[in-house]
Subunit: 167 residues, 2 copies
């Protein structure tokens, strides 16, 4: 059995705009990363190729290159903002943990699986990316896909319903 | 956010005959349960209702009640054996952790989801129960089902391929 020293793990956390992935990161920092550990947290933001999907709008007109550039810029800003927020959370909850941040372009399902493999992650942490019943039937949940295709252990953390006080 | 003190978590681990669930338990003991913690590990074995499914064999003949009783007895023996092995692993890897063991009858998918809820688990740990592509298409993977339906965080641990030495 390939033992992993608890203190030198590479923990890959997939983050996105949603509150759920921040909750997953927070849960991981409190429950998986141990104090004074040498764990490395790798924050991964997968930037979906929006420009490709939306190059044609509903009416069939092509967006101008200006608009596409603006959308690309917007996507980069969102990525930076999400990663800033995530890094701050790491600092607040586990001062000593090493933190790396990455942005990768592509379908989150592919990006997360590839990176888990490539970076030799010891565990992958992510929100459940539920999408609701109907959308899931078409898209498939990102977390389902990753749980099936990633070789390392996968920790899926759902955002608890905010029923004031109830667990 | 409902914070859970790291030292008082209820960790539900679904175990079965497969080596994969034992690997999941071992990973959890090394990576999630912390030394000197007050974590409680709850080992859950779901006993599938074999007797019901196999009351008619392929030829349409009913099994005699003797055979059914023997099968029932066999199921109980397997459950006891699996839980013994799991408890021993807990003792070996985390001497201080409190350990409880439960056997529940029913489809593992339902049993695990119900118990996670009922026991107020802070995290559910399980193997991936892959089944292979064809069987999965019909049965659905137990871990997929649980990841979708359980409210608490779910940690899915796959058994690494035994390619001598490679990770």
């Amino acid at each position: 059995m390939a033992d992993v020293a608890e203190s030198e793990r590479r923990i890959l956390v997939a983050v996105d705009e949603g509150e759920e992935s921040m909750h997953a990161l927070s849960w991981c920092l409190k429950n998986v990363v141990s104090q004074n550990s040498k764990d490395t947290l790798i924050l991964l933001y997968a930037k979906p190729p929006r420009a490709v999907y939306t190059a044609l709008d509903g009416t069939g007109y092509l967006f101008s290159s200006d608009i596409l550039a603006a959308m690309e810029k917007y996507g980069a800003d969102v990525a930076a903002c999400v990663l800033e927020k995530a890094k701050k959370m790491c600092k607040d909850l586990q001062q000593d943990a090493k933190v790396e941040a990455r942005v990768e372009n592509g379908d989150p399902r592919d990006v997360i699986c590839q990176m888990a493999e490539q970076l030799g992650a010891d565990v992958l942490v992510m929100g459940s990316h539920g999408y609701g019943l109907i959308k899931r039937a078409f898209l498939g949940s990102v977390s389902n896909h990753c749980a099936q295709n990633v070789k390392c252990p996968v920790l899926i953390v759902k955002k608890p319903k905010t029923n004031a006080g109830s667990k």
